[in-house]
């Protein structure tokens, strides 16, 4: 059983911690770093509640060892709002009622954030494809798609203004 020193960036902050090889990234984020916005839903690589961005790509942090994040830059839901201002996606989920119990929301937002960076003007069907690895048991997804479209519009508008 080996232990390893892991150096990585979390929401822009450099971190250095020793971990057991078998520590899953999601446990590292929640328990070592105390960032409990990243959720554990299924433990079977099914639900996407643990989605984080690893070097900008959305991945299931329950299906990666913390030691594998050596040198990486990771972003969690805690890093999405800037200076107390909600990100357009967070605002969209609020405005469009994109959540009920809220358990899937952090994963949904992280997945959507990466997807809008790749495809800023998505069709509804493309959003549905993009979030197909994130399960929601409350909303029936319609409101989530609306929330993501709200964010796409808002991000486009601020882009237009040079912001």
């Amino acid at each position: 059983m080996s232990r390893h020193l892991v150096t990585l960036s979390v929401n822009g902050q450099p971190m250095k911690q020793e971990v057991e090889a078998r520590t899953l990234l999601v446990h590292f984020i929640r328990e070592n770093l105390g960032l409990t916005g990243t959720h554990i839903g299924c433990d079977t690589t099914s639900c996407g509640a643990c989605t984080i961005l690893l070097d900008g790509k959305p991945v299931k942090s329950c299906t990666l060892f913390a030691v594998q994040a050596e040198g990486a830059s990771i972003e969690t839901i805690e890093g999405v709002a800037q200076d107390g201002t909600l990100h357009p996606l967070q605002e969209g989920f609020w405005e469009k009622h994109g959540l009920q119990c809220g358990f899937c929301t952090p994963g949904m937002i992280m997945c959507a954030k990466a997807y809008l960076a790749k495809n800023p003007r998505p069709k509804d069907s493309e959003i549905r494809q993009a979030i197909s690895g994130n399960l929601c048991r409350c909303t029936g997804y319609n409101k989530i798609v609306e929330a993501i479209q709200y964010a796409a519009d808002k991000l486009q508008a601020s882009e237009g203004k040079g912001g």
């Binding site: 079977t44 996407g48 299906t63 690895g133």
Partner: protein, 291 residues
């Protein structure tokens, strides 16, 4: 759930990983994308004593045409296939397959080589690569060898790869003139394994199907070709009768097990229908159709 303890080694190169595999023997296990292995470790279905991580070896992540084939580095992420215009334009069967493997989050980590080396008949690439007649390049202590896909799979989760060999490249022959392919999968939901899925790759000459190769997913204990269905198409024009014969042949020669996804009879019938539809789509594409 927390995996059993293990020692972790981050390989510096494929050759380093081969040396580590050689050293650790039966205790060593390669970690590529980890999207099958880590879930199995969480359930403690897999308890390797030593993990040899190769996931970061970027020299083995590429998609390029060379020497008459499409070469895919074994550590290429599934998502890269979807994002490759070369794949989406010229390798439609592969593009179809890439879009239905697990889910988009998993496809950001999962690797093409891992999907094949795991030798799971429920995985999607085995059927697709059987239909393409792909070749796999493996490297071991004694150098590299090329393995035709038809001889690669030997059992459930078993292949001809030696314990100290690593799959490094997948080679798909460049499509011949008049060829078309398609992959059709029935799954209960995104992320589930196939109830059944059918990979078709064929070559048309005028209206006649000159040759066809068909691979089947999750309807046998070893990834398989539907050779009788291929025979039923060979030299024939596309007609309802030809499709019916090919579908019936595939349904008869597959060997599914009953599980939560359905009974044996149901899976055979799904295989029959998917075979017909996939052949029809492959023919349309061979004629230049964009569907």
């Amino acid at each position: 759930m927390i995996p059993a303890p293990f020692d972790y080694h981050k390989a510096r190169s494929v050759d380093d990983a081969i040396a580590l595999l050689d050293k650790h023997g039966e205790d060593g296990k390669l970690l590529a994308g980890g999207q099958s292995l880590i879930p199995a470790m969480r359930f403690r279905l897999a308890t390797p004593a030593t993990l040899i991580d190769i996931s970061h070896l970027s020299a083995h992540k590429y998609i390029k045409e060379k020497d008459g084939h499409l070469a895919i580095g074994a550590l290429t992420h599934e998502m890269a296939l979807e994002e490759s215009s070369l794949v989406t334009q010229s390798y439609r069967l592969l593009a179809d397959t890439a879009k239905v493997i697990a889910d988009p989050l998993v496809r950001n980590r999962a690797t093409v080589g891992g999907n094949l080396a795991h030798a799971d008949p429920a995985n999607d690439h085995p059927a697709t690569m059987l239909a393409y007649g792909a070749e796999l390049v493996a490297r071991g202590p004694k150098g590299e060898r090329t393995i035709p896909i038809d001889g690669f799979f030997t059992g459930l989760f078993e292949s001809v790869l030696e314990k100290n060999e690593i799959l490094i490249e997948i080679r798909i022959p460049k499509p011949k003139k008049g060829s078309g392919g398609a992959y059709l999968k029935l799954e209960r939901k995104v992320g589930d394994y196939a109830t059944s899925a059918v990979a078709v790759n064929l070559v048309l000459s005028g209206d006649t199907i000159q040759e066809a190769r068909i691979g089947l997913t999750n309807v046998s204990s070893v990834p398989m070709r539907a050779k009788n269905a291929e025979q039923a198409l060979s030299g024939k024009k596309l007609s309802d009768e030809t499709l019916e014969a090919a579908g019936r042949a595939a349904a008869a020669e597959c060997d599914p097990s009953a599980d939560l996804r359905g009974s044996v009879e149901y899976k055979r019938d799904v295989t029959r229908v998917l075979t017909q539809r996939a052949v029809r789509r492959a023919v349309e594409r061979a004629k230049g159709g964009q569907s």
